[in-house]
């Protein structure tokens, strides 16, 4: 026998003695009201202070969609995406090398991580830029030959500097992810006759992704902001463009606020993307996927609508 507990059923069919739900006066949380008032008060005070400062706020919307700013946003995004791509691919490769039974590859990976994590990324960027001191030419045999200085464009310097540095950090994140997958998975896969590489690609990495994605989201957002360093190697991205406008128009600080606003917008967009990516890799890990923000909003609204009805009954 199954007992039907459907509340929306009309009342004319005698319900099979549904238990009466408890109606009690909820605990009052006065602390919450007090802290909310204090927080809002502080926020208002800070906003007021900034609005009264000697800042020409009008300059921010004036230049918000300026061609140079939009170009800078585009370059920042491009650099972030490409550097992260290099970082993720390199990181997975390094993590696999680090965990491999082959002592040569694992030592190489260890050394790479040791070096690239141990030196500041700004220094690495400048070294890439000035490597022409060591290698005068770049010579790939019959395919390509040029002076180092004309080969190393600002974009390539920025990509190599940021991407190779990121790979060292991603390697550790990926290693943690790979180690988090139960050994039984590898065994089951091997027992079915799957090779090491197939096991890794089809079984282990997809499961490791669940552990890898959240810290990688962190890295993406970090990378987005770290791209502001590459102005040191003559690459024009968001912050550099904003500073240039600031110097010519005399609204230097205003342009910094503008850049900050753009960075905030971009990180928000990435965070939303991260949420959905996490949701994708959570499939199979829990019985039901977590709701999307939109679904949660709908559920909350529905709850809101039903509550008064329950009270009037």
């Amino acid at each position: 026998m199954t007992v039907d507990v459907n509340k929306t059923e009309p009342a004319d069919t005698p319900p099979p003695a549904a238990p009466e739900s408890i109606k009690a006066i909820p605990v009052r949380h006065y602390g919450r009201y007090v802290s909310a008032v204090i927080a809002i008060g502080l926020l208002v005070a800070i906003v007021y202070a900034f609005s009264q400062g000697k800042i020409n706020w009008g300059a921010v919307p004036d230049y918000f969609f300026d061609d140079r700013i939009l170009h800078g946003v585009g370059q920042t995004l491009l650099l972030t995406v490409l550097s992260m791509a290099i970082g993720i691919v390199g990181g997975i490769l390094l993590a696999v090398m680090r965990l491999s039974k082959n002592p040569v590859t694992s030592s190489i990976a260890w050394f790479y991580i040791w070096f690239f994590r141990g030196t500041p990324v700004l220094v690495q960027l400048m070294v890439w830029f000035n490597l022409g001191l060591v290698f005068e030419y770049i010579n790939l045999g019959p395919i390509y030959k040029d002076y180092w200085s004309s080969f190393m464009t600002p974009l390539l310097t920025a990509l190599l500097g940021l991407g190779l540095n990121e790979a060292a950090y991603m390697a550790e994140i990926c290693r943690a992810g790979l180690l988090a997958v139960d050994e039984g998975q590898t065994e089951a896969s091997h027992a079915l006759g799957m090779s090491h590489s197939k096991t890794l690609r089809r079984i282990v990495i997809p499961q490791a992704m669940r552990v890898i994605v959240p810290p990688t989201g962190n890295e993406v957002i970090n990378m987005l902001k770290t791209t502001s360093l590459v102005s040191a190697v003559q690459f024009y991205e968001l912050l550099r463009e904003a500073q240039d406008i600031g110097q010519t128009s005399g609204a230097a600080v205003e342009m910094l606020f503008l850049a900050a606003a753009w960075y905030l917008i971009l990180t928000t967009v990435f965070s939303i993307g991260q949420y959905y990516l996490e949701r994708y890799y959570a499939r199979g890990a829990s019985r039901a996927l977590p709701p999307t923000p939109f679904q949660r909003l709908k559920a909350n609204l529905a709850l809101f609508r039903r509550t008064p009805k329950a009270v009037t009954r």
Partner: protein, 253 residues
């Protein structure tokens, strides 16, 4: 009848601990071979040696007449490459105590994975076979469910279907019902019984004495890394000769 599995003086150590101290036995083709014994007796380790998940330290182990993990030329042994080991594992199905289903794939994807990825069969052919296998283990309606949405018994039956999808000539069961609620054990044992009736060669490490008695053709009682007693399940279970077997059986029966 030819021997599907032949073990001659198999030794296995983990560091200084010797887990298998010379195992000699033969499993005939089409036989249901049960391994029983207390935990730590080495029965699971022996099972894992058969498909080379563990390397043996001494002795010889043959599956279908071929050495496991090595190739013999003259009187020299050559270690097999990983790809060659993988090739041999295709013909040996294994079912684990903890199921080890791939959690990011649905039941039917679990079953289809190896035939597509390892044998390179076409998706349509494999899908048809996977559906038939899921139907055989009574889970045709759960094909689109993820393992986390299945009960333990259902997961284990999917795991059996997954192993069968490679059309193995030998099936290894490593305590397939030990992690299950008592209520769910029966379904899994029914599937295994059906397999035995179809003539599959099976080596079963188990604590299910009822299953061993009804379905088993041979039974081996292991303790401390050696075979203590072997024979027909009915004889060993009802009339054990060794004191160690008697005391073990008196506790589990």
């Amino acid at each position: 009848m030819t021997a599907m599995v032949k073990s001659e003086g198999v030794h296995k150590s983990f560091g200084a601990t010797e887990v298998l101290k010379g195992i000699d036995l033969e499993v005939a083709e089409g036989e249901v071979f049960c391994l029983i014994g207390p935990s730590g007796s080495g029965k699971s380790t022996f099972l894992r040696c058969i498909n080379h998940l563990e390397k043996i330290n001494a002795g010889r182990l043959y599956v279908d007449g071929e050495l496991v993990g090595y190739r013999q030329k003259g009187d020299k042994l050559y270690e097999l490459k990983d790809s060659e080991v993988a090739l041999k594992r295709r013909d040996i199905g294994m079912v684990f105590q903890r199921f080890n289903l791939f959690p990011h794939m649905t039941a039917i994807e679990n079953v289809m994975e190896a035939p597509i990825q390892v044998r390179g069969e076409s998706k349509a052919v494999v899908r048809e076979r996977a559906e038939r296998l899921l139907d055989r283990v009574g889970l045709a309606d759960k094909a689109r469910n993820y393992p986390s949405q299945l009960s333990g018994g259902q997961q284990q039956r999917v795991a059996i279907a997954r192993a069968l999808a490679m059309e193995p000539k030998l099936m290894l069961f490593d305590e397939p019902t030990s992690a299950l609620d008592p209520e769910l054990v029966g379904d899994v044992l029914d599937v295994m019984r059906g397999l035995a009736e179809d003539g599959m060669t099976m080596i079963v490490v188990t604590h299910e004495m009822g299953f061993a008695r009804e379905v088993g053709d041979s039974l081996v009682f292991m303790d401390g890394g050696v075979v203590v007693e072997s024979g027909h399940p009915r004889d060993v279970l009802t009339n054990p000769q060794h004191d160690r077997t008697k005391s073990f059986l008196s506790k589990v029966l």
